[in-house]
Symmetry: D2
Subunit: 439 residues, 4 copies
C-alpha cells in the first residue's frame, strides 16, 4: 500500500532549540533516564479511535475532518486502510503501542456473528501488519456505549438481552486482544450509570456489573489471557452519573465484590478533573492502593465542564504524573495512551503529528523533571522530616498499634509542647518550577 502521510519523515529528536514543527524538542527516545531509556519509561500509545476515526464533529456541528483512509466504499477495505495508515503513523512517530475498541478497528455487522467475523478479519490483518513491525498493542476493549442498544447501559442495562450482547462483545474483544498480544484489557463504563434515579434500581445494576466483571475474570483465566484487567473511572458524560466515578469509587466497588485482586485502574487526566480531582491525586491514590495500572494521557480545560480530551501539553501535569509513575516503579504493563483528540479546528493531517509531538515532548519534560526531583530527593526529604514524629516515641507507638484513646489521653494530659511547623507550600511550588524550567 502506498504512503499515506506523504512527505512526512520519521520524526526525530532535534533538541530544545529546534523550530521544526515535525521534530521532537525534548523527547529523545534512546536517552537514558536512570537505568531506562525515555522510550521504556514512557511507553506511549496511540488511540485508534480519536486519531484514526475522529471526525471533528461535536454536539453542534458535523465533521470537519476527512482522512484519506475514509475513502473506501467497502467498510472492511476502509478498516484495513485505516489500520495500515495507523501503522505508518505510529511508526513515523516511533511510538511503541496502540490501543483500540472493537468497533474502532472493524465495522459493526448486521448480526453479532457478522460483527465477530469482521473483527476477526481485521484482527488477522493487524496481526499481519505487526509481523516485522515494532508496533504492539497496549490494550484492547469493547465499545459498549456507542450503539443505541446500550442507551440504558450495557452491564447495567435494565434489559438482560443487552447485557448478554455486551458479554459477547467483551468475550470476543478479549480474545482478539489476546491474539494481538495486548498487555491489558480495559473496561470503561460510559453508559454504566444513570440519567435519573426516578427510574433506576442502582443496587441491581451494581450487582450485575460485579457479576459481569467476575465473568470476565473467569473467562480471562479460562483462555489464559495474561494481560492486566483495568477499569477506567469517569464521573459523568455521557451518563449523568457513572458508577466508576473516580478511583475511590472503583476501590469501594472492587472491595465490596471481592474483585480487588483482579483489577487495576486506567486513569485519565480529564476524567480526574471532571471528578473534582487533580490527575496526580488519582494516580497517587491508585498507587498507594496498589492499583495503578495504566494512564490515558490527555488534559481537560478546567473551566469547561465536559471531556475535552486535549493533547497533554501542560508540563506541570506531566511532571506530577511522572512523579507518581516513577514512585510506582513505572507503569509495568501499562502505558501512556494518548486518549486525546486534535481540536475540531486542527483538521489537517499535520495536526495529528504536531499534537502527538506536543504531548510526547511534554511528557519527556515531565519525566526529566520528576526523575531529577526523585534523584535529589528534595521533596522526599521534606516529607520524611515532616512526618518524623511517627518514627519514635508516641508516634511510633501509634503506628505500631500499641496505644489506644486512653493511653493517648494520658500522654496529651501531660501537655507536650505542640510545635507545628510550616507546610511551606509556596517554597515547594517554587522548587517544582526550578526542576521543570531546568527541563
Amino acid at each position: 500500500m502506498s504512503e499515506v502521510f506523504m512527505g512526512i519523515p520519521k520524526i526525530s529528536y532535534e533538541g530544545r532549540q529546534s523550530r521544526n514543527p515535525l521534530a521532537f524538542k525534548y523527547y529523545n527516545p534512546s536517552e537514558m533516564i536512570g537505568d531506562k531509556s525515555m522510550e521504556e519509561h514512557l511507553r506511549f500509545s496511540v488511540a485508534i479511535w480519536h486519531t484514526f476515526t475522529g471526525t471533528g464533529s461535536d454536539p453542534f456541528g458535523s465533521a470537519t475532518i476527512t482522512r484519506s483512509w475514509d475513502n473506501y466504499p467497502d467498510p472492511i477495505d476502509q478498516a484495513k486502510a485505516r489500520m495500515t495508515a495507523a501503522f505508518e503513523f505510529i511508526t513515523k512517530l516511533g511510538i511503541p503501542y496502540f490501543c483500540f475498541h472493537d468497533r474502532d478497528i472493524a465495522p459493526e455487522g448486521k448480526t453479532l456473528a457478522e460483527s465477530h467475523k469482521y473483527l476477526q478479519e481485521i484482527a488477522d490483518y493487524t496481526k499481519g501488519l505487526m509481523k516485522g513491525s515494532p508496533v504492539k498493542v497496549l490494550w484492547g476493549t469493547a465499545n459498549l456505549f456507542s450503539h443505541p442498544r446500550y442507551v440504558h447501559g450495557a452491564a447495567t442495562s435494565p434489559n438482560a438481552d443487552v447485557y448478554a450482547h455486551a458479554a459477547a462483545q467483551v468475550k470476543k474483544a478479549m480474545e482478539v486482544t489476546q491474539q494481538l498480544g495486548g498487555e491489558n484489557y480495559v473496561f470503561w463504563g460510559g453508559r454504566e450509570g444513570y440519567e435519573t434515579l426516578l427510574n433506576t434500581n442502582m443496587e441491581l445494576e451494581s450487582d450485575n456489573m460485579a457479576r459481569f466483571l467476575h465473568m470476565a475474570v473467569d473467562y480471562a483465566r479460562e483462555i489464559g489471557f495474561k494481560g492486566q484487567l483495568l477499569i477506567e473511572p469517569k464521573p459523568k458524560e455521557p451518563t449523568k452519573h457513572q458508577y466508576d466515578f473516580d478511583v475511590a469509587s472503583v476501590l469501594a466497588f472492587l472491595r465490596k465484590y471481592s474483585l480487588d485482586k483482579d483489577f487495576k485502574v486506567n486513569i485519565e487526566a480529564n476524567h480526574a478533573t471532571l471528578a473534582g480531582h487533580t490527575f496526580n491525586h488519582e494516580l497517587h491514590l491508585a498507587r498507594i492502593n496498589g492499583v495503578l495500572g495504566s494512564v490515558d494521557a490527555n488534559q481537560g480545560d478546567e473551566l469547561l465542564g465536559w471531556d475535552t480530551d486535549q493533547f497533554p501539553t501542560n508540563v506541570y501535569t506531566t511532571t506530577l504524573a511522572m512523579y507518581e509513575i516513577l514512585k510506582n516503579g513505572g507503569l509495568h504493563r501499562g502505558g501512556l495512551n494518548f486518549d486525546a483528540k486534535v481540536r475540531r479546528g486542527s483538521f489537517s493531517e499535520l495536526d495529528l503529528f504536531q499534537a502527538h509531538i506536543a504531548g510526547m515532548d511534554a511528557f519527556a519534560v515531565g519525566l526529566k523533571a520528576a526523575f531529577s526531583l526523585l534523584e535529589t530527593r528534595e521533596l522526599e526529604e521534606v516529607i520524611e522530616l515532616r512526618y518524623s514524629s511517627y518514627s519514635s516515641g508516641i508516634g511510633k507507638d501509634i503506628v505500631d498499634g500499641k496505644v489506644g484513646l486512653r493511653a493517648l489521653e494520658q500522654y496529651a494530659l501531660a501537655e507536650p509542647l505542640i510545635k507545628n511547623t510550616s507546610g511551606q507550600q509556596e517554597r515547594l511550588e517554587a522548587i517544582l518550577n526550578q526542576y521543570i524550567l531546568r527541563g
Copy 2:
C-alpha cells in the same frame, strides 16, 4: 433563668393558608403518616454551633449577629446561658433533638485538663436541663478543626502530639455524649486531607486515620457506648482535598481497613453537591450499602463553590431525600439535623425561628409527597417493570450466577430481538411534580 426569646410562643401548626411567620404551615408533629407521626419520621435536631454560636462572620467580614447569651464575661457563665437559651429555643420549636461539638458547648481551657473540666461541667449542667425536658441528644462530636493545633490535620496530622491531643478530645467527647444519652457519635474530618501533595504522605495519613477510628471503636465498646458511630463525608473546604470525599470514598476506606461493620455515614446535602452528587444520590448509595446513618439537613447553592449551609427549603430535595429515608425504613437512631446557618443578613433572633420553620415545613412537604409516592408505588412499579427481564429466562440466569461469557455469547448469537423501552424521564418528573404540588 428568664425567658430569652421574649414574645415568641411555642410554634404550632396552623396549616397551609396561614400567613403567620411563626407558625408551621405543613409540619404537624402529631399527624400520622402511615404508622408513625411526622415527629417520629423526621427526628429533627438543632445544631448548637450554627444556631447558638454563629456570628455571621465570613472570610470578608466580621460578625453581624450578637445574641443575648453572649453577654457574659465569664466563658462558663456564657456557655450555661447559651445552653439554657438553646433549650428554650428547641422546646419552643418542638424539636426533639440537638447536636453538638465539644467546643460549641464549653470553652477551650488553657490546658487539656482544663478543657476536659469545662466540658464536664457543661455536660453536667446540660444533664440537669434535660431532666423533665423532652429534649435529647442526637449526636455529639469533637471539634478537631478550629484550633490552630489542627492546622495540618488531627488524625492525619504529621505531628504525633497533635494526634494524641485529638485522641484525647474524642475520648472525652464520646464520654460526654454517652452521659447525655446521645444516640450517635460523629467524625467529620475537616482537616483530614491535604493542601498540596508536594508535602504529603497520604499513605501514612490514611493508615493513621484508620488507626484512630479503630481506637475509637475499641473505646466505645470498652465504655459500653451504644450509639452509632458515623463518618461525615465532605470533599473539600476547608482543606483542598479531604479524604472522606463522598460516600463512595468512605466506603472504600472502611472496607480497606475492616471498619465497615462499625461505621455508618452522616450525609449532608451541601457536602453531596460539593462532591458533584445530588443529595439523594448520596443517600441512595449509602442506603443500598447499608450505611445510611443520619442526615445533616441543609442545602447549598449549586452555582457557588463553597459550603453555604443554607436552611433546606427546596421541596424537591426534601421529597427525594425522604423517599430514600422511607425506603431505608427510616433513619433509625439517626435524625435530620439542621446543620444550617441563617444567612449573614438574617441576623435577628426571629430569623432563627423562621429559618427552622422553613426547613421543618419543607421536610414535612417532602415526607408527605414521598410517603404518598411509596404508597401508590407509582415509581416503584415503573422500576420493577423496567428491570423485569432479570426475573426470568436469561436475566434470571445472570442474577443467579448460572452463566458466564461463553453462555451469554451463545445466547446473543441467537440474535434475540433487542427491544429497549423508553426511560420516560420527563413523564416521571411530571409525576413527581404532581405528588409535591398535591402536598
Copy 3:
C-alpha cells in the same frame, strides 16, 4: 397526508388529579390569569430542531431515535413530511408558535443558490400549512454553526469568504422569517468566540461581529421586517469562550457598537446556569435594562457542565421566571420556546408529548404562583419597605443627585444611628414555597 401521531388525541386539560399522561394537569389554556388567558401569557413555542430533527446522538453514541418522517429518500420530501408532522404535533398540543433554523426545515444544497432554493420551497410549503391553521412563527434564525465551513466562526471567522456566506444565509433566513410572519429573528453565535487566544484576534472578530449585526439591522429595515432582533447569550459550548457570554456581555457589546436600540436578548435557562447565573438573574438583568425579548424555556443540570437542554419541570425556576416576565409586562413579541430535547433514553414519540406537557404544566404552575405573588404584593412590599430610606431625607437627596462625597461625609460625621434590618431570606423562601404549593 395521513396522521403521524396515531392514536394521540388533542391534549386537553384534566386538572391536577388526573393520572392521564396525555393530559394537562395545570395548563388550562383558556383560564384567565388576570386579564389574559394562560395561553396569551405563556406564548409557548415548539423548537423544530430538537423535537423534529433530534436523534438522541451524543458525543459517545449514535442515534437512538428514529421518526416516521425520516423515512423519505428525497430530502425535500423528508423536509415537507417533517413540517407536516410538526404542524400535527403543535396543533395537538395546542401550542401557538414554532421556531426554526434555516437548516432544520430545509436541506443544505450543493451550492448556496440551491440551499436558498430549497429553503424557499419549504417556506412556501409551510406558508401553505399555516393557512387555516392557528400555528404561527415565533422566530426564525440561520444555522451558522453546524456546517464545517463555520469551524472557526461565522461573523467572527478569520476567513472573509465564510463571513460572506454567513451573511447570505442570514439575509435569506430573515426574508423567509418575514414571509412566514415571524415575530422575531434570533442570532445565536455558537461559533462566535475562540478555542485558544494563541491564534485569535479578538478585537477584529468583535468589530466584525458588530459590522455583521449592523448589516442585519440595515437589511431588516430595508425589507420592512417588523420583528424584534434578538441575541441569544451563551458562555461556552461548543466554543471554549463565546463572545455573547451572558446578558451583561451582550449589553457591553451592544452599547460599545451603538446597537443597543436595535437588539433585545433571547434568554435560555441552561445558558444562564452555564454562565454561573440563575435563569431569573438573567431575565431580571435584561428586564431592568429594557432588553428582555424572548425566552428559551428549558433547564440544565447544575451538576453537569454542558448544555443538557432538558425540558423545564422545576417549578421554582418557572415561578421565578414568570415573576420576571410578568413584571416585564409580559413577553410582548417574544415567547416561551421549548429549546429542549427529550433525553436520549426517551426515544418514543409519546415522550415528545409527555415532555412538552411536563414543561407546559410546570410553566402554568409558575405563572399562577408568580401572578398570585404579584397580586398580593407580598414580596413587593418587603422590597419597598427595605429601600424606603431612599424615598426621603438623605436617601432622596442621593437619588435626586443633590449630594456629593463632601455632603455625605458631613451627614455621616453627624453619626446617624445606623440601623440595618434583617434581609429575612429564609422567611421569603418559605413564602415562595407557600405560593408554589398552593399552585
Copy 4:
C-alpha cells in the same frame, strides 16, 4: 525601631541554579528586557492586608499566624509597628510599591470622626517612612465590606445611612491615597450585589452604585487627584452575585452610566477563574477595550470554588498575562500587586518571603517568555496570516463598511472556494512550552 525580620538579608538574584530559598532565581530587577528593566516592567506591589494583617483564619478555623507586630496593646501603636515592619519587608524584597485599604493600616474608631483621625495619623506616619525610602503607593482603597454595617452592601445598601457612611470613607481614603502619592484608587464591591433576588431592587442598587462612582469622579477632580480610578471585578464571594461580575459586566455598567472614560479595571487572576474565564482572557478583553488598568497577581485553584488567593507560581499564567501586558504597552500607572496570602499552613515569617519570591520569580519567567514571543513575533505572525483575508478584496470591503448583506450574498452566490486552514492549537501550545522552558 529594631529589625523585625531578623536574620533575613536583602533578597538578591542568584540565578536559576541557586538552592537558596531566600534568593531570586529568575527575577533580576536590573536586567534589561527590551528598553526597560525587569523592575520597571513588573511594578510589583505588596498587599498590606494579606501580608501584614492576615492571620490564617478560615471559615472552619481560627488564626494560625501570629506576627511580632501584633503584640501592641494600643491599636495605633500596633498600626505603626505594622507599617514599619511592612517597610522593612518591602525594602528587603526590593519591591517598589504597596497597596492598602483604609482599615488595614489604621483601626476603625468608635465614631467616623475618630476613624478619620486614626487614618490620618497613620497616613502621616507612613509619609514619614516614605521619606528617604524608595517604597511608593500603587493604590489605596476603602474597605466597604468587613464592618457589619455593610452587611447588605455599601453603595448598593438598601439603607441610605450606610451609603452616606461609605461615601465618607471613600472621600477620606481618596484623600489619604493622594497624600501618599498613590498612583491609583480602587473600588472593589465585595458587598455590592445580592444574596437573593427575593428581597432585592437591583435597578435602584445599580443606579445608586453609578451615582456613587460619579460622586467619586467629581471629588477626585475637585481635589486634583491624578491617579487612575479602577474597578475590580469579581463574580461572587462573599456575596452570592456581585454586580462587577467580570470585565464585560463592568464595561456594560460603565457604558450605561457614561463612566467609561473615567474608570479602568483592576484584574485579579483568581476572580477571573471564579467567573469562568482565564486570567489572560480578562486581561485581553480589558486591553482591547482600553481599560486595562492594573493587576492583582495571584492564582486560584480551579478545582475549588472559592477565592484561594494563592501566590502566583504557574508560569503559564504569568507568561500569558505578561503577553497581554506587554501588548498593552505595559501597565502604565498600574502594577502587579500580590493580592495573595500565604496558605494557612505556611504560618512562619519565612513563608512571607518565600511566597513573594516564588511569585516574583514566576512573573520574571513569564516576562522573559512573553517578551521573547513578541520579539520573534512567532504567534503574531500566525495570527496575521490567519486573518489576512480581511486585508484585501471582500474582506477589506467588510472591514471598510463598504458592503451589506445584499452585496455579500452576491459575492457568496458566486461560490468562492471556501478554504479554511487549521487553527493549529496543539502546535501553538508546543511553541509556548518552548518559550517558557527556554526561560
